[in-house]
């Protein structure tokens, strides 16, 4: 046995395959989808930040949150449509509402969120409008829309975990109990990141800590408790991304808590959390794709499942 420290966590198992070809097919998606996981989460996290700011009278947080949510929403729309094989048919998604299809549910969640978050962001421009009436009417509409967006936001941040898990991609599917927590945490942390940059008030720091805790806990479970199917998250590009994400999340939290006196340190912490959130999403994406490309991740867990009852007899 090799004495080097980089031995795989799981011993090399024997299995047979058809010329080593994959059995399940990796999703035919590009990194656009990984990017959407981030921007969708960011839109959700920052709209929650905006709602918090709105309710606790912190206009800077409210404005930064709403504007970020709109920007992230626009980017999400672009990534999602660009990744279709037939982008001009994107509206076919609106033909049906299917609870068995997380993508269909997600479309409707995103549509509802988009309308509310868009209206809330537009209301921020009230002071720039010359008309008195508009200036009077917009803010209450924005307030209602902002709260509406915040109600939908948790669904927007977590449905993407179901989207990935509801596939035959082995390492995504097996992660379904924890993945929503990773994505919820990652979305919170990225929203908090925007807050730390715009106005590092105490709520943003608390949001950063709670988000990071959820994200780190979930990711840790996924990386360590899934046996062979944890391996794709610990090795290769996914392993590097997730590790970097973890480090940056920790750095961001430490910076947010200890650097509260300094605007610069707070802003850097926010940036660190945002980068970490993106890296975590790309890492999860890559890990699943790697598990679909190697037939061992399909064959071995299924073989184990088949032999288990026989052993019990």
């Amino acid at each position: 046995m090799s004495r080097r420290g980089d031995r795989p966590m799981v011993p090399k198992a024997q299995f047979r395959s058809y010329y080593g070809r994959p059995i399940v097919r990796p999703a035919p998606w590009t990194h656009d989808i990984a990017a959407y996981l981030f921007t969708g989460g960011l839109a959700a996290g920052s709209s929650l930040l905006a709602a918090g700011g709105q309710l606790t009278r912190r206009p800077k947080l409210r404005r930064a949150g709403r504007v970020t949510a709109l920007g992230a929403l626009a980017a999400s729309g672009y990534f999602l449509v660009a990744d279709l094989g037939r982008p001009e048919r994107f509206h076919h998604m609106l033909r049906v509402a299917k609870p068995t299809s997380p993508m269909s549910m997600g479309t409707w969640i995103l549509t509802a969120f988009g309308a509310a978050a868009g209206a809330a962001a537009v209301a921020e421009a009230a002071s720039l409008v010359p008309s008195r009436l508009v200036r009077r009417v917009l803010p209450p509409i924005g307030a209602a829309a902002g709260l509406g967006a915040a109600v939908v936001a948790p669904a927007l941040a977590t449905y993407t975990a179901v989207l990935l898990s509801d596939t035959a991609t082995p390492s995504w599917h097996v992660a379904y109990p924890e993945l929503p927590f990773v994505f919820a945490g990652s979305a919170l942390a990225s929203g908090a990141g925007i807050g730390l940059i715009a106005d590092p008030a105490p709520p943003t720091r608390r949001m950063a800590v709670l988000g990071a805790a959820l994200e780190l806990y979930g990711a840790h479970r996924i990386e360590t408790t899934k046996g062979l199917l944890s391996e794709p998250y610990a090795t290769g590009r996914a392993g590097k991304l997730l590790k970097a994400g973890r480090t940056l999340t920790a750095a961001g939290v430490v910076g947010a808590v200890l650097g509260r006196r300094s605007r610069v340190v707070s802003a850097l912490s926010g940036l660190s959390l945002l980068t970490a959130s993106a890296m975590t999403r790309f890492g999860i994406y890559e890990g699943g794709m790697a598990s679909a490309r190697d037939p061992k991740y399909t064959v071995l867990p299924q073989r184990e499942r088949l032999t288990e009852p026989a052993d019990g007899q």
């Binding site: 058809y18 930040l49 076919h92 179901v162 509801d166 596939t167 035959a168 379904y176 037939p295 299924q302």
Partner: protein
């Protein structure tokens, strides 16, 4: 939706809302009689007007298709297998029972055929035709006396009827061939996750993509537990076997089953195909082929049974099939529950963050 809509035994067409559905139709692919002619692949391409998949040499025995893709809806797998690999003990008449025992071509008979044939040279001036194959395959004893008196077999390909002479024992080697296809699952993950309603269940219980609806989101591709359905690159939409929905509607047999010369692909009502398959396995096993088994025939498996199922002579993964596929949507209710919990945790975190003391 019935109680087994996501998992468990089910008749899919009535579950999908058809009131007077015809019996469920399907394929039984018996790999023990497949000869690897690829007539199914060709018939499928021709009937469905499918573009080529590239003209590649893959170095995988006679398989230059590679697998099921958007452009290959039938795929013939070839596995060259030393018998010891099959898990069966050597020396026991198993998969080879009742088959001819000699090598598939005899060097001697080929040489004799080449040298006793009529002189085909055309006078005047042209030399007699030479059988290059036989000449290359043998060493002329006059040129190489060390080679002995008779012609020597050099291992070059020969042509003769199989088993004409038995000058060597049959080798410890077998060849597996299987024509793979979409399984038309009872619980089809591709259909479940399709966000546009492009994939639908037909009255025959099969699963078909509507090409005028599909917008190429690619979700079905990742969801299929068999890696069947695929997005076509230049076209952007998802494609797969339709079990020749157009032919079925006209009372015809799917093109591949029609073309199969050995009836390795049998098309029919699923219920009777299952009976036929059970009888076939029994026959094979009684003849000593212990490795014969059915795959995808049972209502109780992870996808609620396949509309297209198989008789295999080795473990499924040897043919590139998953050993125990489970439809991913089986866990969907749990997935939504976990997501709901995480969403609550998220909302609570924000509330806690903003309700805390102003510091």
């Amino acid at each position: 939706m019935g109680s087994n809509s996501l998992y468990g035994p089910l008749d899919p067409a009535p579950d999908a809302g058809y009131t007077d559905a015809p019996p469920r139709m399907g394929f039984f692919t018996d790999t023990s009689v497949c000869i690897g002619c690829k007539a199914c692949e060709v018939a499928c391409k021709t009937w469905n007007a499918i573009p080529d998949d590239g003209f590649n040499l893959l170095g995988q025995s006679y398989d230059n298709t590679g697998g099921l893709t958007a452009n290959s809806w039938r795929h013939v797998a070839f596995i060259e297998q030393p018998r010891s690999d099959s898990g069966a003990a050597t020396g026991v008449p198993g998969a080879f029972a009742g088959l001819p025992t000699g090598p598939s071509a005899s060097a001697q008979s080929a040489v004799i055929a080449a040298t006793t044939g009529a002189d085909t040279g055309t006078a005047p001036g042209l030399p007699p035709a030479v059988d290059a194959l036989a000449a290359a395959g043998t060493v002329d004893p006059q040129l190489f006396p060390a080679a002995g008196t008779g012609p020597q077999f050099l291992g070059m390909p020969q042509t003769d009827l199989p088993g004409r002479t038995s000058d060597a024992p049959r080798t410890d080697f077998r060849w597996l061939m299987m024509s793979n296809v979409c399984k038309h699952c009872t619980h089809a993950a591709c259909l479940d996750v399709c966000p546009t309603g492009s994939l639908f269940r037909t009255e025959f219980g099969t699963v078909v993509v509507q090409e005028d609806i599909c917008n190429g989101c690619g979700y079905c591709v990742a969801a299929c537990p068999y890696g069947v359905i695929d997005r076509r690159e230049d076209d952007g939409r998802a494609w797969k076997c339709t079990l020749c929905y157009d032919r079925l509607s006209d009372g015809l047999m799917p093109a591949c089953a029609q073309a199969c010369p050995t009836e390795s692909i049998v098309f029919g009502e699923l219920a009777s195909l299952r009976e036929q398959a059970a009888a076939r396995v029994e026959t094979l096993q009684s003849q000593g082929v212990d490795s014969a088994r059915l795959y995808g025939h049972s209502d109780d498996d992870g996808v609620g049974g396949d509309g297209a199922f198989f008789l295999l002579l080795d473990e499924p993964e040897v043919y590139g099939l998953p050993p125990d596929p489970v439809v991913t949507t089986k866990d969907l209710p749990d997935m939504w529950k976990r997501a709901g919990l995480a969403a609550l945790a998220m909302a609570a975190s924000v509330a806690v963050s903003f309700l805390g003391r102003r510091g």
